[in-house]
């Protein structure tokens, strides 16, 4: 017995419905943009509206919302200060944290046509990681110059051909580090929605109400786990970005 949702709708398969927060598609029939683009726009708009609501007239925040924003700002500031990064990097990492958090949380909201987790798209996380790579390289050159940039990858006082081998390894490792940064966020977000989609798709497979009574609480539980992972992955991305840029700003060799 198949549920009614899959019958008679030639454009949407049952798999599309269960996984619609993990599959990128046209925003609506024949739209020129995809759901990912729309969700990025919605996320950016949401952050800009939130930030516009911060009252700059007084230094002391009053009310729940402004206190929450202050605690987020202090959180990011403490992260950058601990890595001894100058304050000029604060806007960048605050943007990373807020943007990734907003995109992750927007992916949990079941918006009818355009609902999608933008960070479960490799291109989106790739763009974010590319910004970290760019900032790392530019900071390395700005703080250490071209010669110093090369010396960042090679510890001093090594005999023979070892510095060259080490440089190649470390340079490759630099790009691998940032690549894993991209894959970590992408895979965490995708995995959560895939699991939810798998549970919900099972309802269609079995086609019984008993399966629904089993699947829906399980997928709700996984959704709660997804919420935790959303916050965690935003924090981990920002923290690792701070550590990577901090490693280029401060020569620790």
């Amino acid at each position: 017995m198949r549920p009614f949702l899959a019958e008679g709708d030639p454009n949407h398969s049952q798999v599309d419905t269960a996984f619609h927060h993990a599959l990128n598609a046209d925003a609506w029939e024949g739209a020129p943009v995809s759901k990912g683009v729309v969700m990025i726009g919605v996320g950016a708009l949401a952050i800009l509206i939130i930030l516009a609501m911060i009252d700059k007239r007084s230094l002391v925040p009053r009310g729940l919302f402004r206190n929450a924003m202050e605690s987020i700002a202090l959180f990011v500031r403490d992260m950058t200060r601990e890595a001894h990064l100058p304050d000029r990097y604060l806007p960048l990492f605050a943007t990373f944290f807020l943007f990734i958090l907003t995109l992750n949380l927007l992916g949990m909201i079941p918006i009818p046509q355009i609902g999608y987790t933008a960070t479960s798209n490799l291109n989106v996380t790739g763009a974010l990681a590319s910004i970290v790579v760019l900032v790392s390289i530019v900071s390395g050159f700005a703080y250490h110059g071209p010669g110093g940039f090369v010396k960042l990858f090679v510890p001093s006082g090594l005999p023979g051909p070892l510095p060259f081998v080490l440089f190649v390894l470390e340079f490759a490792g630099f790009f691998i580090k940032h690549g894993v940064l991209m894959v970590r966020l992408f895979a965490n977000m995708l995995a959560g929605h895939l699991v939810i989609g798998a549970f919900l798709g099972l309802i269609g497979d079995m086609g019984s109400a008993g399966m629904a009574a089993l699947s829906i609480p399980l997928s709700l539980f996984v959704s709660c786990l997804e919420l935790l992972v959303a916050f965690l992955q935003a924090y981990v991305f920002t923290l690792l970005g701070v550590l990577f840029v901090g490693g280029m700003v401060h020569a620790d060799h």
């Binding site: 950016a44 609501m53 895979a187």
Partner: protein
């Protein structure tokens, strides 16, 4: 209109303008992102190995994170006042290990 409302409206307008400008490259694409669902998947002889590989990667990740959690609990038991620092470090290390496991799983399935 209060100044907050005016400021919100101003920022919203600027944001919409920004989004519209940045969306121009998106309009340049041909918009048929989901246009090939009927492309038949060719028979993949390595498919069972892919699943086995993903399972092994999960075992490795699970073991590593389990060891990490055990060490964190032992450290907390020895010195309860360090619970906060241990917990933060544990979360960060778990995310890193999970990143490795996920990378392996993604490589398995491409």
């Amino acid at each position: 209109m209060t100044s907050i409302v005016k400021k919100t409206l101003r920022v919203t307008f600027a944001a919409l303008l920004l989004v519209g400008v940045c969306a121009v490259p998106a309009y340049a694409s041909d918009g048929s992102i989901a246009s090939a669902p009927e492309a038949a998947a060719p028979s993949d002889h390595w498919k069972p190995l892919k699943y086995i590989g993903a399972g092994l990667a999960t075992i490795g990740g699970g073991y590593g994170i389990g060891r990490l959690a055990a060490a964190a609990m032992e450290g907390t038991a020895r010195q309860p006042e360090a619970t906060g620092a241990i917990r933060t470090t544990m979360i960060i290390a778990a995310a890193l290990i999970e990143g490795v496991a996920f990378t392996a799983i993604i490589v398995c399935f491409t």
